[in-house]
Homo-oligomer: 562 residues x 2
């Protein structure tokens, strides 16, 4: 039999294109949108109040303007998300179809590459080698922040030297906030550079009234769900272990919730619910122990538990500790290397409030060390490195031993832990993300063609067939609110946490007792690219539920699908 | 858009069937096979020397015998492997097509269920619910050993009470050795029960001149390779981390080698090579450090390393320690709970030889504890619980610090570890495993129809199209040799380790330097069920190389594939 690698073949997939984006669309001003946050206007005097734009098929085929070639720059910012390369392919194809003499430059290794003018022209050969592939390796990414006036001036100088008409920044909430600041700067200094953002993050927290989902979320959730399903099947087959599975997703629990909807585990912890009810780690452990005991009484000494990696930051007491630690670590950064490892915990505790210090020292040592580790460039604790799953298992063992001593529990508790993060971020995008990203890229180009700066490319109506998807331009400032950052009030794009009154969480809440009590596991299997559309092209259950669609199979005749 | 779950749809897949197995084949005695191990005969006086059988399309359509319904029992033994349910489906379908009044019983939770007569009739409804699914949850599995005469007598009594004509034991090398013992017992006591084995294990070590591969190996390797590929893409995109990935596969490194062929990591450690060259852990760490320094000098402070979970048992010094520990733990099993955890390491060291004791106490504490943990029912250390990857990273950090101090290394070493095992064992089988298992099941039934006891079902010619696969019956004793087990010489089915002179390893050896020096990563992506056959239906690169086929894409016109 002949042998072909999927990663080679996949380059030839043609993303599905919204009808509106097949050729140059017209831009219409939408009149009907949610109230704006006036307080943001002070931070964006030049760009605040831009209208929301809808891209539409042009009513007449005659163009009023002569087409001239465009030069566009693009960069990737922050953590990888499946589909990044397709955004770039979408930008490229739309540019070339607008005018074949247009050109595209990619800045290498993120915003840092923009400031250092490390750049590569993205020709058809380059683009074709990366179509529908995962990762950000075409041009790389980093976490350099564009925040300061000097940075904007440098960026603009680089843009001019390359003759850029537009710059597309592909990133999460912070990177898009920075895109807004750069757009504001350009407007303020009267520079015509168009700055457009694209909503990227596997965490799914760049989402609001105008952005249905960020790209990469769909693929990542599907990869993790494949693995969770496989583990659950193993768990149910051998009936020996409790599996504790920590999932990436820095703050919000969207990924954990989506994975729970896809796999129906025995327990899924949702950080936002923990915070809403002011729960402690002990509360979480008590509830888990209740489920373990209940299942044990039914003859099931096995199960699955999903844990969002950001959990510790949502437990109020832990959150307070982390905030204090962030400060102590920042203030003492220059001295820390002088402290012996054996003394570091006591050294830090000595600088905390009494309550936090005693809590800090009561934690398992390994956990306390992890909380004291190096911060990321934003000064945040690296939650993926904190072994929350191990902490919970350790605490659970103690709790179950206690119950056993009291005769309340007779089962056997054997736990295995897993952490899925790097396994998904660079997966080949699902058909959904491949097409969604490609459409975002085309939208970004068309916003640039129409000289619309300070916008985020948006594609909506995503639970319908891609041909019906609706592209739009959302003013970056429209998605902002004020937040305190390092003691300063700033206008930033709002992170969207799981809404515990929203349809996805309500569905989860309605069903979780039945999932806890028995075996309701789903086994989603690997992402499929070639099969029936109802299997291969769908997006997340979160989006389905938000659009009043059930996350259940419809009746169908299997034979008709092949 | 409508929404259909893959795990539901997949039940409707029809495995591809070898032509020979489409209806009742004839059995022919093959004359040409490798020399037999005469020393085994003493252990199997009644069944040794059975002929090797080939299943062939019957030359005439007239059957000499009247068909009467058969009653067959089946059980799953040992760890899960993708495709187990399809073996059972194959048995069932062949039984029913042979005679519609035939019936199939499944013993629950493995050989233990046979002895306890925990059994369930497997009707069409049950079978249909599990077709092409992963896991063993249809009837479960365990690790009970069938070794003693009393057990055989009990098994036979249960078989009689159900009116069984045949029993199919689906398991690895040990389980199939036990199948051979049961077949021998039946023959010796003059019982007509037919006992047939099926080659199951993700480890790929049940493989020899007659068995090309065990089922589940293909799927598992593909799941792990998907994840390794994703991690490598992440690694290459962010250029920050060295990823150390431990892979399941109890003893042999077949899974690690296959994953290396599929993903082309910077380093893959193959236990069999370590043992062949008598290498120490320090040697391994030195070689890894050499690669890390070399890549760092080329500007690449990132990379990927694959580690087989059984590695520690192949490092001669460690192997000696483990053998001693196994003995000490077994001999002192009744006293161990009296020893405090803080004293257990010294307690055990006191009972080891001087050399092992000092090595044991020189290990990182966590590792020493892991080596002292509970043994599996075979008295073996649970290698999957030993954090070899952590040990190697710890040792590497020290080595790199030394080199840094000497000015030989200027890079930044940041390591992340992963372990993949439970993520793959219960995956939905690949098309290859789905069809291979189904063919094995049909073969098992036809061996039973022909009253051939003491055989393993075999299907060969696997790199060709399934229609051309060649079913056979291999005498279980033909695959045996003598081994010392717990101080006694026993005849057992030989485990197949990676042959470092075989084609797969030679291909790896030829290319690994270029993989270490640069970026040669492959990103295989998720298992596909619906696409072009050259993508979806192929088996392992190991098998391709063993059959003189290259593991490279052939030239093709992508458009012709869709």
């Amino acid at each position: 039999m002949s042998y072909i690698r999927l990663d080679n073949l996949r380059k030839h997939y043609s993303p599905q294109i919204p009808k509106v984006l097949e050729s140059l669309p017209a831009v219409e001003i939408a009149t009907n949108y949610a109230p704006i946050e006036e307080s943001v206007s002070a931070f964006f005097p030049a760009t605040f109040g831009l209208p929301l734009l809808e891209l539409k098929e042009p009513t007449s085929s005659e163009e009023t303007q002569e087409r001239i070639p465009l030069t566009v720059g693009v960069l990737l910012s922050g953590g990888q998300a499946p589909g990044g390369h397709n955004v770039i392919a979408g930008i490229f194809d739309a540019l070339k179809s607008y005018h074949p003499a247009s050109s595209l430059y990619g800045f290498l290794m993120g915003p840092g590459g923009l400031l250092k003018k490390q750049v590569r022209e993205l020709t058809a050969d380059v683009i074709n080698a990366y179509r529908n592939s995962g990762g950000f390796d075409m041009i790389g990414s980093d976490r350099t922040k564009l925040e300061k006036k000097e940075d904007f001036a440098t960026a603009l100088k680089v843009a001019h030297s390359l003759g850029l008409d537009a710059l597309v920044i592909i990133g999460g909430d912070d990177s898009n906030t920075n895109a807004a600041l750069l757009a504001e700067y350009c407007q303020a200094v009267g520079d015509p550079l168009v700055v457009v953002g694209c909503p990227k993050t596997i965490d799914g927290d760049l989402k609001n009234a105008w952005i249905e989902t960020s790209f990469g979320f769909d693929t990542c959730a599907k990869v993790y769900a494949e693995l969770i399903g496989n583990i659950q099947r193993d768990c149910y087959s051998s009936k020996k272990y409790w599996h504790f599975i920590k999932l990436m997703g820095r703050s919000a629990s969207h990924l954990t919730l989506e994975c729970a909807l896809l796999t129906q585990p025995n327990v899924a912890i949702i950080s936002e619910e923990i915070a809403a009810h002011n729960r402690t780690l002990n509360d979480i452990v008590t509830q888990l122990a209740d489920v373990i005991v209940m299942r044990s009484e039914r003859g099931m000494d096995f199960g699955s538990v999903l844990i969002p990696e950001g959990l510790v930051e949502f437990v109020p007491r832990m959150k307070a500790l982390i905030v204090e630690l962030n400060k102590v670590l920042a203030e003492n950064a220059h001295k820390l290397h002088l402290v012996k490892r054996s003394q570091i915990l006591n050294y830090l505790a000595g600088k905390l409030t009494e309550e936090s210090a005693s809590f800090f020292l009561s934690l398992p040592k390994e956990m306390a060390y992890q909380l004291s580790m190096e911060r990321d460039p934003h000064g945040n604790v690296q939650v993926s490195r904190i072994e929350t799953e191990e902490l919970i298992v350790t605490m659970l063992k103690k709790e179950l031993d206690k119950r056993k001593a009291k005769g309340e529990y007779k089962g056997k508790f054997s736990a295995l832990t897993h952490f899925f993060g790097y396994e998904g971020r660079c997966s080949m995008p699902s058909n959904f993300d491949a097409s969604y990203c490609y459409a975002l890229g085309r939208t970004a180009t068309y916003l640039a063609v129409h000289h619309r700066s300070g916008y985020m490319a948006s594609v909506r109506n995503l639970v319908n067939h891609p041909s019906e998807w609706q592209p739009a331009g959302i003013p970056l400032t429209l998605m902002m609110h004020l937040e305190e950052r390092k003691g300063m009030l700033k206008a930033v794009i709002k992170k969207s946490l799981v809404d515990i009154e929203g349809a996805p969480f309500r569905y989860f809440r309605k069903h979780r007792h039945e999932w806890a009590e028995g075996i309701a596991y789903h086994y989603p299997g690997p992402i499929q690219y070639f099969g029936p559309s109802a299997v291969c092209d769908n997006t997340t259950l979160t989006l389905r539920l938000e659009n009043h669609l059930e996350p259940e199979d419809e009746t169908y005749d299997a034979s008709s699908l092949f």
